[in-house]
């Protein structure tokens, strides 16, 4: 019997991070990385609902070609709100701030992140940024699109740009704090015996993500400062009347915001590596290739931003280089795909909910990734630029990739985080509903984009209506899937079956401590003696012969 199980059996109720202090103050001032992860989970859920509500409103309006429910101005503000909230306040922090915060120290056998107070500060900074951005929305909204393109944002937009920009600027610092914390934690606080090549691939993914965060976020921060001084003090950095170049804003903006796509997708790739290995009962195929491909994506991802400017005055030669590099960044992604599929090949593949999300990720991300190649080809981009094809592409990447990974992680580690099992039947049902709803929403958008439907238009030609109706129907199904999931997860908080230390019979340090873990994660610092994903060896916490708890349900 392991230390974790002894602890479970001995104390009643066992002391863990959730019941170690029950006051609101003990949550709001906690420096425990696990509690901070929960704070993030709650706040991100609220932002996700807000961003989703905005999308629901404009999708409803798009059912008919005319404007019916919304005025055009409101429509513009809603899609801007959807973009700002979903990107800056959900996707960028999603897996790092929730799953990463919870898992990074546990997976490497540390008691906490390197700078626990900075970690708590990051949540307060995030909430400050979020509330300021919400303030901008409540005071009347912003209509620039989430990209804040100049000179519209700096001179012409007649809405609360300064507040929204300030919100995004402030939230950026919270991701910098998280990224900095992860790098130092992973570099300096690994348990004895946990060498770099024994680390779970989720840790490699978080490391690569953190590199992108610390190198990219400051650039968008200073870019937002430039908009601020231009709008507030009347400086003219991007003002064409003074010889300033609005396209310079696009360059600086995409220097962060394209790598930001990798901030949103790399963590999901890490999650999928964990899940696929566990539910194939096999060591991950080509560990070092998957690890280094994360770093390769992080590095190459910084040299592709110009593909957003093929049609905005960038020279053809620069375009050629950016086009080539964009193809190039697909290679490490393809390496990962190959390795995941090879892991499943001849593995004992099963169909638990996290694995369903991993399958969803593989299928949807392949579509998202390959349509990215259409857009990185200059000739086809001229046709597809600023159409629904682009919208569909990045939703396949960010929702099909990012959100699927987040939901997979949420289910995989839910028993560890909460100490309760979610109802497997409902969860599988919701996963399938979400998958169908997502495809129904965005598959038609490829079609209408290809036929020339421009993005961000409030009204459209009648021939596109059938696609829009399908898309809205899909969004409804998708929304229902999310709500089912929210309902059973909430239910499981109170009524879920108690989870053992290792309900999936998985490998990794996080499964060797109790569920939920004690405040400092381990009763004594673990020693690591084997590689990650030792599914060919018996687990420390789940003795051979014992069926996993999920199967017994």
């Amino acid at each position: 019997m392991s230390a974790a199980d002894t602890q479970l059996a001995a104390g009643d109720p066992p002391k863990h991070y959730l019941n170690n202090g029950l006051t609101i103050r003990s949550w709001l001032l906690s420096v425990d990385h696990k509690r901070i992860a929960i704070l993030y989970l709650i706040s991100l859920t609220i932002f996700f609902l807000l961003g989703g509500a905005a999308a629901a409103l404009f999708r409803m309006d798009l059912v008919t070609p005319e404007a019916d429910v919304l005025q055009s101005e409101t429509y513009n503000k809603l899609f801007t709100m959807h973009g700002i909230v979903m990107i800056f306040f959900f996707l960028v922090p999603s897996i790092p701030a929730v799953m990463g915060n919870f898992l990074v120290p546990v997976m490497i056998g540390a008691k906490d992140v390197a700078f626990p107070r900075l970690n708590l500060l990051s949540w307060y900074v995030f909430m400050t940024g979020g509330l300021i951005a919400l303030g901008a929305i409540i005071m009347g909204g912003v209509d620039t699109g989430w990209t804040f393109y100049t000179p519209y944002s700096s001179m012409y937009a007649n809405s609360h740009v300064i507040l929204a920009v300030a919100g995004a600027f402030i939230a950026g610092f919270s991701s910098i704090m998280t990224g900095l914390n992860f790098i130092v934690t992973i570099q300096k606080m690994r348990a004895p015996g946990l060498t770099w090549f024994r680390l779970p691939l989720f840790i490699w993914a978080m490391y690569a993500t953190s590199l992108v965060v610390i190198l990219g976020t400051p650039v968008v921060a200073i870019t937002l400062v430039m908009i601020f001084v231009e709008r507030f003090f009347g400086f003219g950095i991007f003002d064409p009347a003074l010889g300033g170049d609005p396209v310079l804003f696009q360059h600086l903006f995409w220097f962060y915001s394209h790598p930001a796509v990798y901030i949103m997708i790399l963590p999901s790739m890490g999650v999928v590596s964990e899940i696929i290995s566990c539910f194939s009962r096999r060591r991950l195929y080509g560990y070092t290739f998957v690890a280094f491909s994360s770093l390769a994506i992080a590095v190459i991802g910084f040299f592709v931003w110009g593909h957003h400017m093929f049609v905005s005055s960038q020279s053809v030669y620069a375009g050629l280089v950016f086009s080539f590099l964009t193809f190039f960044v697909a290679i490490p992604t393809a390496i990962k795909m190959l390795n995941w599929v090879m892991t499943m090949y001849k593995g004992s593949v099963s169909f638990e909910t996290p694995m369903l999300y991993a399958y969803g990720f593989l299928g949807l991300f392949v579509i998202g990734g390959l349509t990215g190649l259409f857009l990185s080809t200059m000739a086809t981009d001229i046709h597809l630029h600023d159409t629904y094809f682009v919208v569909a592409h990045f939703h396949y990447v960010m929702v099909g990739g990012g959100v699927m990974g987040f939901l997979g992680a949420l289910h995989f580690w839910w028993p560890k985080i909460i100490g309760k099992l979610y109802p497997e039947g409902w969860a599988k049902f919701a996963a399938i509903v979400i998958f169908i709803g997502f495809n129904l929403t965005f598959m038609p958008q490829f079609q209408m984009g290809y036929h020339g439907m421009p993005r961000r238009y409030h009204t459209y030609a009648e021939e596109f209506q059938v696609f829009h109706v399908m898309s809205t129907a899909g969004a409804t199904v998708l929304g229902a899937g999310y709500l089912i999931m929210a309902a059973y997860l909430f239910w499981s908080l109170f009524k879920g079956k108690k989870a053992s230390a290792n309900p999936w019979d998985a490998r990794g340090l996080e499964w060797e401590t109790a569920s939920p873990p004690p405040t400092e994660n381990f009763l004594e610092t673990p020693k690591v003696t084997q590689d990650a994903y030792a599914y060919d060896m018996p687990s420390v916490t789940c003795p051979p012969g014992a069926k996993s708890e999920a199967e017994r349900v």
Partner: protein, 239 residues
Amino acid sequence: MSSHSNAHVAHHFENAEQQRQSAQLGMWIFLVTEVMFFGGLFAAYTIYRSLYPEAWVVGSHLLSIKLGGFNTAVLLASSLTMAMAVHAAQTDKQKASANWIILTMLLGFVFLGVKVVEYAGKIDHHLVPGPHFFVDPMAELAKLEAAGIQVGQHLRHAFEGANPNHIQLFYSLYFAMTGMHAVHMIIGAGIMLWLLVNTRKGVYSSQYFNPVEVSGLYWHFVDIVWIFLFPMLYLIGRH
């Protein structure tokens, strides 16, 4: 590692060495983010300078090389006093360390004071970007000649060819860059105050001086930013 050093080790670290290395790495990574932060402005500067070299020449000539040079000397001196403060903290000379910190802070204030004088001069001469911005390159050229400065062919061409709008762009970047640097100086002064209070309280010793050490890194970084800003804004345009 002596046993009483453990008093300063936070609960989640194994030992003082791990804590010290973490603090240092954390600060270095923070400085990387700072490089990228200023990098955005440097990129804008580089692009516009290559587009409008004449305006940059005129803009540089309207800055006071004396005040800028004096401030450079002040900041270099403050880096020395900061290094002395760290050294004193490491060698258990906390009283000396406190004095060096005070000196560092004072030099920081001198720098900011001179900066205020410079900014005030720019306001007086309508060189702040915006509706009140006004510059007449030919009049400025005449002033240079009146001051007895030898104006070469090259310089004359630059003044003749400079577009006042582009000079405004130069000043937008001048204020954004030096302003952002000044914000960092103010934060640095705040950090010095915090270090001073803790040093006086006897928090630091040869066993535990991480905050002094990493704050020193920050202070040196802010100095280095100026070491780049001074030639870029004041000097190279004069040639």
